[in-house]
């Protein structure tokens, strides 16, 4: 295979794997925080804020991967 084709393949696979990872992470986070909010409705506001911050942190890692994929496609 040509190097360019390999780069496109790698970018596509990488984006997919990054999406899987981020999906698992954020899904887990959402499930736990919903559970938390259901058990302790008083803390729901606090939990929501923390959930958004943690989701942003998880998303940041996934976005790193996406940027790498984008660079693979654009720079080849």
């Amino acid at each position: 295979m040509e190097p360019a084709a390999l780069a496109y393949l790698a970018a596509g696979l990488g984006a997919g794997i990054a999406a899987i990872g981020a999906g698992i992470g954020i899904g887990w986070l959402a499930s736990s925080s919903m559970e938390g909010a259901a058990r302790q409705p008083d803390a729901a506001g606090d939990i929501r804020g923390l959930m958004i911050v943690s989701a942003a942190l998880i998303e940041g890692v996934a976005l790193f991967a996406l940027i790498i994929c984008l660079l693979l496609v654009v720079l080849v």
Binding site: G36, R39, Q40, D42, A43, D46, I47, G49, L50, I52, V53, A56, L57, E59, G60, V61, L63, F64, L66, I67, L70, V74
Partner: protein, 407 residues
Amino acid sequence: MIARLRAFAVVTLLVLGGGLVAGPSPAQAAEGEFTLESIVNNTILGHATDGNYLNLEPFGSPELPRIMLVRTADGSLSLDAYGSTKSMLRNGPYGLVAHGASGEGHGDLVTDEAALDEAIAAKEHLHSGVARTSGHVVADFSITRHLVLSLLALLIVTGIFLTLARRYRAGVGRTEAPKGTLQNMMEVMVIFIRDEIAKPNIQGEKWRTFLPYLLTSFFFILVANILGLVPFAGAPTSNIAVTGVLAFMTFAIGLIYGSKDHYLELLTGPPDAPAFVRVILVPIEIIGLVMRHLALAIRLFANMLGGSLIIFSLLGLVFIMNVVFGAAAAWGTTVISIGFTVFILLVKLLVAFIQAYVFTTLSALFIGMSVEEHHHDDHESEETASHGGDLESRLDAVEDAVEPTPA
């Protein structure tokens, strides 16, 4: 409804799958005026990334001035300024870098009059790089679209808040209730940032020092993000340089206002840890500090760029279908594309607010972490009393509150 959506998805998948099986042949694509490559390179990436022109397309695309710091062939530095890319190519010692060329070799430059005219007529000069025929460009200080748009965002924010400041000085909102939609809306957001972002994340009374920065960054990012939804404009925050500078400001504030405790822990490791653990932990702490702020920049940049790339890709699908399968497929795709685009635009409006909130919250968190002081004498009481502090202690506090008491 769901069944209909599923049918749409199946049709889309079939169409896309068919495209993969049939394989767009380059000869077929080259026949039309639009080729796949020009759609992807010029239209999609050209809109989403920065450029030296304003994009007002049906009414033309005015070019912006180019200012280049160059090292000429005899080794001296000089500043070149031209009114536009067009005049720089025509009058200056510059050539267009041909597509596919790396830009290093001078042999690939397009410099002769006829070829340049052709490239300018096809607007090729707006999407490809330029290089000097003799000497090289040290730094490109050209005014770009994102710079113009961030100045516009700055003007909007300054305009809104100077107007409001005048009102508060006159007493509206202090001695009586705030008046009008604008003042009420902004007061809600300012108070939200003060009470929900600055106060819980920054220890003690120190939030007063950093509230102006947090408010400025929140409203600048918010306005910049919303500019990405305005026709003819674009989000300046979809530029890594803009978000990088914003994140660097947070980093610099953390370094300048950092407490002695923060520096001590950063440079010598956690207290009462053995020496060999410190050797491992100190580099990790320092790398972590830098990566945190780098991630802050990348997060905002990738979110905004991702949003516009998705929209352009969805709309570009219509033109790609036109090139690959013909007009009928393009008309069929238009309905699906526009439906998805409207949905993504709504998501982008949500993301504009969420990303401004997240950037401000994380800035407050990072600044709070570096200005935090540990009171060693009343450590115990502080632990129980604080409901602010860093992320870990807040997470612990919520965990304790949420955890059911063991029976």
